[in-house]
């Protein structure tokens, strides 16, 4: 065993919602093995990783248990020993490759710093080693990467640099805390493969923290399922995901949206409500004295129709222009060219005064449930101010708000409370109710479930389906998650670098993708290979 954790408990400060961040945690990781800890937010999975690294935030203290590694208890080390242990024996990679690197240092110096901190090698050797590491993690043109600053690299490249730094001193254990969560699906697939390859080559133990069951199915040898600070289930991946023993694990797996789309609905009789033709948007950064103007074509000739009661999914990776398309249709952004029609109305050409009067027809649900509600307003104000501004009577608006809150599954008494009193999922429901208050015809959901835990995500997706039927809404569902798109969308638009590369009914696109890019996207979704335990469990229901 590289590391064995026994009966570990970490106390939360007084006044928290439970006494322990996690309690009674026992597990081992062997060399050459990937152990995944999976759980929803607040399950204590990151605290477990941070305890091993001795990186607990103030207020959290280990109260019992041992973490044994190489014959020593990591909890009993002196500060100097801890520093020695970090990097050389246990290394860690983090979720945010954007903030985990020092923006003012060249990559070369950041890697060399790891050696320097541990007094390893001479100056020349360090440089040679850094070059070798950068080559090993598969970065293109290593000498150039070494001279680059972090801002010149993409997210995936930065994560590769982080991995190179973690590998620098050949640690026995690599802890990866949600290392692919902030990455696009194709980049994620590459990073997962890289971690696997490196592990085979170096024979280290890997402790992989994630919330994504798909990632677990893709990479783990063994898996631990955590909930509210306790281990619910552990075992070999094929067993736990292929044949879950506990209710919680089963629910967690069943909440994962399936990559297999349901049977298509018949929508041929419905009227077209939105038609978009040749939409274009170019962002221009104004040049300075010494910098030339830069033009970025965010969306290029996007056209589609949307029927009443239909859900159109716009999928793509970051930078594909899917959000920009949504914002142009909501008229939060002005497109450079193209036509947007709502029925007979030339929506794209409305002047600002007329537009404000008709704004209610197109509404949006946003991604971040914590930023989409004004923290200084009560829910009553948040819900009714739009309707009141449109000339509705205040009392009537309040009555409708009460009704809608119940429809989205919240208590009507929520009206007198402030946003911070609600959880992420509840806030997202409030955001949906706010959009519905305006009695819209078209609802644009921009990554509306991406920030939610899978079980909450499943509930909110069900809510979208229910509301679409209740209000006969046309929904434009913007997402990077192909599984989510497969479940809720009737038709799919695949976007890549501003253009539409493929469009068609969900069943067709998923069963027989015609474009190479769509194929690569589908292949990159973790955990859904033909023989994967996740696919087996979900196929049998």
């Amino acid at each position: 065993m590289v590391i064995s954790v026994k009966d570990l408990s970490v106390a939360l400060p007084e006044g928290a919602d439970r006494p322990h961040a996690m309690t009674g945690i026992t597990f081992d990781v062997a060399a050459g093995e990937v152990l995944c800890i999976v759980g929803e937010s607040g399950s204590g999975k990151s605290v477990t990783a941070n305890t091993i690294m001795n990186l607990l935030p103030p207020g959290l203290t280990p109260v019992s248990g041992t973490i044994e590694m190489g014959g020593r208890d990591l909890l009993k080390l002196s500060d100097a020993e801890k520093r020695q242990m970090r990097g050389s024996e246990v290394a860690m990679i983090f979720q945010e490759p954007m903030t985990a690197l020092n923006p003012l240092m060249r990559i070369k110096d950041q890697i060399a710093e790891v050696f320097e901190a541990h007094g390893a090698f001479s100056k020349e050797e360090r440089e040679a080693k850094a070059l070798k590491l950068v080559e090993e993690v598969g970065l293109p043109d290593p000498p150039k990467i070494l001279r680059a600053y972090p801002f010149q690299l993409s997210g995936g490249q930065r994560q590769r640099v982080m991995i190179a730094m973690a590998l620098a001193l050949e640690p026995k254990l690599l802890i990866a805390d949600e290392p692919t969560t902030a990455l696009d699906v194709t980049t994620q697939a590459q990073i997962l493969k890289l971690v696997r390859n490196l592990q085979d080559r170096h024979g280290m133990a890997v402790l992989f923290i994630t919330h994504d069951i798909g990632v677990v199915a893709e990479i783990a040898d063994r898996v631990i399922v955590m909930r509210q600070g306790e281990i619910v289930e552990q075992g070999a991946t094929a067993d736990v995901i292929g044949a879950p023993q506990t209710d919680y694990t089963r629910r967690l797996i069943n909440a994962v949206p399936s990559l297999i789309p349901p049977a298509p609905r018949d929508l041929s009789a419905d009227k077209v409500t939105v038609s978009v033709t040749g939409l274009e948007k170019t962002f221009v950064t104004s040049g300075g004295f010494f910098t030339p103007k830069r033009e970025v074509r965010a969306i290029d000739k996007v056209s589609f129709d949307l029927k009443r009661g239909e859900t159109l999914g716009i999928v793509g990776e970051s930078g594909s222009g899917k959000s920009t398309t949504g914002r142009c249709i909501a008229r939060l952004m002005e497109p450079n060219a193209g036509e947007i029609r709502l029925g007979e109305l030339d929506w794209g050409a409305l002047a600002s005064r007329e537009l404000r009067a008709q704004r209610n027809r197109v509404q949006m649900v946003f991604q971040d449930p914590y930023a989409s509600l004004n923290p200084r307003s009560k829910i009553a104000t948040i819900l009714t101010e739009g309707a009141v501004a449109q000339g509705q009577d205040k009392q009537e608006a309040l009555a409708y708000a009460r009704e809608l809150l119940e429809t989205v599954g919240l208590d009507a008494s929520s009206l007198d409370r402030y946003p911070h009193e609600f959880s992420g999922g509840q806030r997202q429901r409030i955001g949906i109710a706010r959009a519905l208050m305006m009695r819209p015809e078209i609802l644009i959901a921009d990554e509306a479930v991406s920030a939610l835990d899978v079980s909450v995500q499943a509930q909110v997706l069900d809510l979208f389906q229910k509301l679409r039927e209740m209000f006969n809404l046309s929904i434009i569902f913007i997402t990077h998650d192909l599984c989510v798109a497969a479940q809720v969308c009737d038709r799919i638009l695949v976007m890549h670098q501003g253009g539409v590369v493929e469009a068609g009914s969900t069943a067709e696109v998923f069963a027989a993708p015609s474009h190479d890019y769509t194929r690569s996207l589908l292949a990159a979704v973790p955990g859904w290979k033909d023989d994967s335990p996740l696919r087996r469990t979900r196929a049998t229901g």
Binding site: Q358, Q367, P375
Partner: protein, 279 residues
């Protein structure tokens, strides 16, 4: 007791500042009762040191005026000038910053160039010029101080608005068909108010300093007694009669210090995440 008060009172410096400022305010309020006579009246022989005569705890100045009366009446002037000029500066700076930050583009360019125009002129020199043009009077001084102190407000408000206007709740408000004025004042401003309050408390302090400096140069209102004027009048006899300058100087020091401590306390209490550890 709410969380804000708790956070504020945890900062010992802020509590000390609040106590100091309360004393100054009380003295300013009761000045006409403890010193019913005008502070300009000559009531005793000149150059009496502190405590030399009964009832003249702070001594008398070159013309035999009571320094205690000057201190008490000067407190009123200082506080009024500080508060009113900060208020006027906010009234100018807030709308300019808000419009520039919210609408951006050409509006931002025009309003910010206008702001920079004021920022490039040394503020004290500009204040002297304005007072000289307007004739020294209380309202002229207030106006001069406001005109030189609004640009930082505009820049701060603009910065806050720039970052807040791209928040999703603001976009949701736009989609609800709310008017730009409603969005600026009801959606964004309440969320930008904390740093503005902190800045305002520090502006009161610098306004008091500015007024003192103007009075010291003889540009104060000749009809009101002010701390700056007292220092200016006593500076030629500093070596014979130290008390004429020292007491009003200490009054300015403690008032400004109190306001700065309060400002820092407000900053910690309103931005708990930025609050320094170990207090």
């Amino acid at each position: 007791m709410n969380a804000f008060m708790k956070n504020f009172l945890r900062n010992k410096g802020a509590v000390a500042g609040l106590i100091l400022l309360s004393i100054v305010v009380i003295v300013a309020v009761i000045a006409p009762f403890i010193y019913p006579q005008s502070p300009w009246t000559m009531v005793q022989r000149p150059f009496q040191p502190p405590m030399a005569l009964d009832g003249f705890y702070f001594g008398t100045d070159v013309l035999g005026r009571d320094i205690g009366a000057g201190l008490a009446h000067g407190a009123r002037v200082s506080l009024i000038v500080g508060l009113v000029s900060t208020l006027v500066a906010l009234l100018i700076g807030l709308p300019i910053g808000a419009l520039a930050g919210y609408f951006g583009g050409i509006w931002d360019d025009i309003l910010m160039r206008f702001t920079e125009f004021f920022q490039t002129i040394p503020s004290f020199a500009l204040a002297i010029v304005i007072v000289a043009i307007l004739q020294p009077s209380l309202s002229g001084i207030v106006l001069a101080i406001s005109i030189v102190s609004w640009p930082p407000v505009a820049r701060l408000v603009r910065g806050e608005f720039l970052s807040l206007r791209s928040r999703e709740y603001v976009q949701a408000a736009i989609l609800s068909g709310l008017s730009p004025m409603n969005i600026i004042f009801r959606q964004i401003l309440p969320n930008a108010i904390s740093p503005i309050i902190v800045l305002a408390s520090l502006m009161v302090a610098s306004a008091i300093l500015l007024e003192s400096a103007l009075s010291f140069l003889g540009l104060g209102d000749p009809n009101v007694m002010s701390w700056g004027y007292m220092i200016g009048a006593g500076r030629t006899v500093l070596r014979q009669a130290w008390w004429i300058c020292v007491f009003p100087g200490l009054a300015i020091l403690f008032t400004v210090l109190a306001l700065n401590l309060i400002g820092e306390g407000l900053n910690d209490a309103l931005n708990p995440r930025l609050a320094r550890k170990g207090r």
